[in-house]
């Protein structure tokens, strides 16, 4: 038998920070949207807001345009700071395609 050894070509990944912990419940929580305004987000996110408000007592879902929108703005530090300052418990980011 001939054995051939060679390098894994995929490169190392470094996981340097954990994902945010999940919420125990959505009841009474404050939820925000960060929208790129693409791919029918202008229709889907209001629907999601409506469903969350109907299904979870005391939930506060911020308007879709609370934070800067658009691909060019949602990834920057200023938007991240605004999200933090808003005191939301969780954020839904959409839409990718």
């Amino acid at each position: 038998m001939v054995t051939l050894e060679f390098h894994d070509p995929s490169g190392k990944l470094e996981i340097t920070q954990p994902h945010a912990p999940r919420l125990a419940t959505l009841e009474g929580k404050r939820i925000g949207f960060v929208s790129n305004e693409q791919w029918q987000a202008y229709r889907m996110l209001p629907l999601l807001k409506e469903m969350l408000e109907a299904d979870f007592p005391g939930i506060e879902v911020l308007p879709v345009d609370t934070f800067p929108q658009g691909n060019a703005l949602i990834g920057n530090e200023e938007t991240a700071a605004l999200v933090k300052q808003s005191g939301v418990d969780a954020v839904i980011v959409a839409n990718a395609a």
């Binding site: 001939v2 051939l4 995929s10 190392k12 060019a72």
Partner: protein
């Protein structure tokens, strides 16, 4: 999305609710959002990453066994493909011996980290570049150009994290200036955007860059990259400017664009999304002046199109690369055309009437652009395809033949330059290449 979060240092998974593309189209039925609402709620409450907070993947050696060397080679290629690390063409397995041989071309330690390859975020070392070049069939003397190209690719201003994933399918174009191009057998002449057995360097350098994009950067078709068509993605484009053919007074691209002194070994990286041939030569009894001017108009006519993807480079990038063959550059220079006056002509005459932009829906894209300079350009009628003529890249390359230009339309926020660093032993590597492949590029007949 998974790639994007791992590129940020998070685990390579994320809470997502995915739907078929139909739902994201204008006029779509979005009721599946309602019927699958529990998945959104669980993403916010119950989802857990499958990965621990640690280092994941790679740095490891793989192993296959076969009844013969050829069988083992087959097994290795099968393993690379089934792990989604291949491109469909035969690969050299990156054995220790082959990678160590390639690393003779490194001016930096093998463990040197160039950056993280977006969007997946794979740690990009000199060694992993050598692994890719080994798989792509490269040689040690190619490594300095690959390293410089990777460094340019990973420049934050290149926007490569987005361009890797976008549906537009941009591919990197690496323009090489300086004597290294000829020394390593990089093509600047006939067929310079394709295969050439006499000047084979561009094929494996470009293929290695593509393997890095896919394997380390995660740009796997339909998963990590949404490139709808993915043109030019076997080898990308790596070629040299034909500096020896530059007319009197014309400067190398790297000097014009990046300010490098003539004779500096360098790369210049542009993302392009297409390659278009422009037939320029006259068909009858044109005078030399008519022949040149007609050709200039045909260039401008091809450029006069609302290429939305090029908006990213409106201010500081480029609308594209115009490749002019040496003999045509000579004809133009003899009639007094300079690089600056050619750009000025092309810029002025590729402006698009506002009505044409409007019928194509282009102003909406201008309005949502993140760059206020680009947004403000909507006031121009006709609208210039770039903020200024200097943004247009002109390169003298290609076969010495007068019939065609090539226009590579860009999708490139910047044009990124890097000086190429070679190891002290580089002359030895070139001597080895002469031994293996025959004499230098001018007379080479491999």
């Amino acid at each position: 999305m998974k790639n994007a979060v791992s590129g940020l240092g998070l685990a390579p998974d994320a809470a997502m609710v995915t739907f078929p593309i139909d739902m994201f189209l204008p006029g779509s039925d979005i009721t599946p959002v309602r019927s699958r609402k529990r998945e959104f709620y669980e993403g916010l409450t119950r989802w857990q990453s499958r990965f621990a907070q640690s280092t994941a993947g790679a740095g490891t050696m793989l192993s296959v066994e076969g009844a013969s060397h050829e069988d083992a080679l087959n097994q290795a290629n099968n393993l690379l493909l089934t792990n989604l690390w291949g491109d469909g063409l035969p690969l050299w397995p990156a054995t220790r011996e082959r990678v160590d041989w390639i690393l003779r071309g490194a001016a930096l330690p093998r463990t040197h980290v160039i950056g993280k390859f977006p969007p997946r975020g794979g740690v990009t070392t000199v060694e992993i570049c050598a692994v890719a070049l080994a798989m792509a069939g490269g040689r040690p003397e190619y490594l300095p150009v690959l390293i410089a190209a990777v460094d340019a690719f990973l420049d934050a201003e290149s926007n490569s994290d987005q361009l890797q994933a976008t549906s537009g399918g941009p591919f990197p174009v690496v323009i090489v200036n300086g004597p290294i191009a000829r020394e390593i057998r990089l093509n600047s002449g006939f067929g310079c955007l394709g295969p050439d057995p006499q000047r084979p360097a561009g094929a494996s350098i470009g293929r290695a860059l593509r393997l890095l994009q896919q394997n380390v950067g995660g740009a796997l078709p339909g998963i990590g990259t949404m490139a709808i068509f993915g043109a030019m993605r076997y080898t990308n484009v790596v070629f040299a400017e034909d500096e020896a053919a530059l007319p009197q007074g014309w400067r190398p691209h790297a000097t014009e664009r990046h300010g490098y002194a003539p004779g500096t070994n360098s790369v210049s990286l542009v993302f392009a999304s297409g390659v278009t041939n422009v037939q320029r030569r006259g068909a009858k009894k044109e005078t030399p002046e008519e022949d040149v001017l007609n050709g200039m108009w045909r260039m401008a006519d091809y450029m006069r199109t609302p290429n939305i993807a090029a908006l990213q480079g409106y201010e500081k990038g480029t609308p594209g690369i115009m490749m002019i063959s040496p003999v045509v550059a000579k004809m133009m220079a003899e009639q007094g055309w300079t690089q600056a006056s050619i750009r000025e002509f092309l810029w002025e005459n590729s402006k698009i009437p506002l009505a044409q932009l409007q019928r194509a829906g282009a102003p909406a894209w201008l309005e949502i652009d993140s760059n206020p300079v680009t947004r403000a350009s909507i006031r121009f009628d006709p609208w210039p395809i770039a903020l200024k003529p200097e943004n247009i890249v002109l390169v003298v390359a290609g076969g010495d033949h007068p019939t065609h230009y090539h226009w590579l339309q860009a999708h490139s926020p910047r044009v990124i330059g890097r000086v190429v660093r070679v190891p002290e032993s580089f002359d030895r590597l070139l001597a080895d290449a002469d031994r293996d492949l025959g004499c230098g590029a001018d007379e080479c007949r491999i």
